[in-house]
Symmetry: C2
Subunit: 324 residues, 2 copies
């Protein structure tokens, strides 16, 4: 993963807004309840690279070179929804570390994690309603349904080596791309309620989100624990069969045996990782991610020419460079 410097340069035009966002997120997730606050602070401090809010703020600038207060709030809401989904996702995945830090449900317990997730989802719904734009409320509400749908699909396909790549893409849309797509669209809806532009913005977010997820899934296989902040191959170990794994199965049928017995014998997991790496699965997944990046760029061109669009273009390229 590139150093923070790369995103710092990319986000230079929205640096002030991103700093305010960090501050607001901590204030918004009220400090009244020590444990919940600890849970939330822990997550918000872990930070990620604020790629989602950055995309929204840049998209907001693209609409008319002005970032409205509602845009800033939308960026905050999106980050809260994303964090809420991570908290519940970790309970569902039995994941004990994320971004190199222990997850809420392993640091505290499952109850606190359920509660913290509910609390964050509730906060986001409330702030969303108070944006005062029914079209945006509908667009973002759909995302929460999509999350749940994505979790269900993932949950019912663990260790399912018969899964199609289309199922994987659908799940990636629900769990990752839907939020980015809906928030890009909403950035337009909050300013220029133009169906033409807002649909291009939606599609940009969708393709970018799909590429983003695919790249994350490739990194899960090829990245080191130090780089990922979590053990290598965690998806594989959990039976969450991502694109590179599904592509690899076709070339390396012994993977089916290993997956079928859920890596229960000594060395199974390491052998599976080795088989995936020697197959063309990683490359096929990279090619697919590259195609999505190209589709995202095509949508971006339809949104006109401006400094903000240029930054979004660079951001889109940057996401692909995470693989290097």
């Amino acid at each position: 993963m590139p150093t923070l410097m790369s995103t710092n340069i990319l986000f230079s035009t929205i640096e002030t807004e991103l700093k305010t966002l960090d501050k607001n997120l901590k204030t918004m997730v009220t400090a009244q309840h020590p444990v919940l606050y600890a849970a939330a602070e822990h997550l918000f401090n872990a930070g990620g690279k604020r790629i989602r809010p950055a995309i929204i703020l840049l998209m907001a600038k693209a609409t008319s070179n002005t970032i409205l207060d509602t845009h800033k709030r939308l960026a905050e809401i999106t980050e809260i929804i994303h964090t809420a989904s991570l908290v519940h996702d970790d309970v569902l995945d039995d994941c004990s570390t994320r971004r190199g830090l222990k997850t809420v449900h392993s640091t505290f317990n499952t109850k606190i994690a359920v509660l913290a997730g509910d609390f964050l989802f509730a906060q986001s719904s409330w702030y969303l309603a108070n944006l005062g734009n029914l079209h945006v409320v509908k667009t973002i509400s759909k995302v929460i349904i999509d999350f749940a749908e994505g979790e269900v699909q993932q949950g019912s396909n663990y260790f399912n080596y018969n899964m199609y790549i289309q199922n994987y893409m659908e799940k990636s849309f629900y769990k990752t791309a839907s939020l980015i797509a809906a928030s890009c669209k909403s950035a337009y809806l909050l300013n220029v309620d133009d169906i033409h532009y807002s649909n291009h913005a939606y599609n940009y977010g969708k393709y970018l989100g799909l590429a983003f997820q695919m790249i994350d899934d490739i990194l899960d296989i090829i990245g080191s624990e130090a780089l990922l902040g979590k053990p290598t191959g965690l998806d594989l170990k959990n039976g969450n069969l991502t694109a590179p794994i599904l592509f690899a199965i076709v070339e390396e049928p012994y993977l089916v045996t290993l997956i079928e017995r859920e890596f229960s014998q000594v060395g199974d997991f390491e052998l599976a990782l080795h088989l995936i790496k020697r197959s063309s699965g990683i490359q096929q997944a990279k090619d697919m991610a590259f195609e999505y990046i190209q589709s995202a760029l095509t949508c971006l061109r339809k949104l006109g020419v401006s400094d903000a669009i240029l930054s979004l273009k660079q951001l889109t390229h940057y996401i692909f460079t995470r693989l290097n």
Copy 2:
């Protein structure tokens, strides 16, 4: 608890709407995912007495003698939110039976329960946004925040014998009354957007909800397992100190010792139940519930005179008779 007959008579004017609601709830919680469907069906079939939707439908009739399609949808949304909160509440309370049936997280597992709850909350947000009334969206969104707040307050006060009755009422408002209040108000907002009437409707729902919760908490102590569909004194055992218990502590200080050691010695729990029953705690709680019922009736009178208001009046009385 009175037989179903009593509510059948009370709800005779809205019988058709309640039947449609039952049917719709099952369809709305999509049948695409066998496990989630099973989880949801299980809950919706357990049924309760549909008191919440009945209140909304009657309140809708009270607004202008017409139940709009949006009112019906509001009643469904309220029941979905209520069910979602029960599913997560059961995870948080480690409750293994509800209404005489095993809870989702004990029948399936915690993950399915988290997922089913998220799915139901998501569905409700989506249907809510599609009601197309921003004022209603804001009013109901607040309820979801209140739920989370109520859970946090409950979670941080287990076995806290120093808790004030005011803390208990606040928690009851967040966990029970807020939803009834907000949906009564929304029934008005959907038809006659009159701040005067909608506030009376809100206060009616608030007082009714507080009485309802207080009565439930009294029944937890004095009801039999057969009557409750769950073991007697479950709140007490879990350290969830409700009004009758808090009142009893003042007269029976040995309760503090029992609560402090979390009923860890043989006979502690039975002794605590006995001490509460011999104190005036139950009667004090009944008196308080009666006062809330009276306050609810006062609010109801401000909403005018109609058949629907008469039914709501009877329903309000009926809720108190559950104690007999």
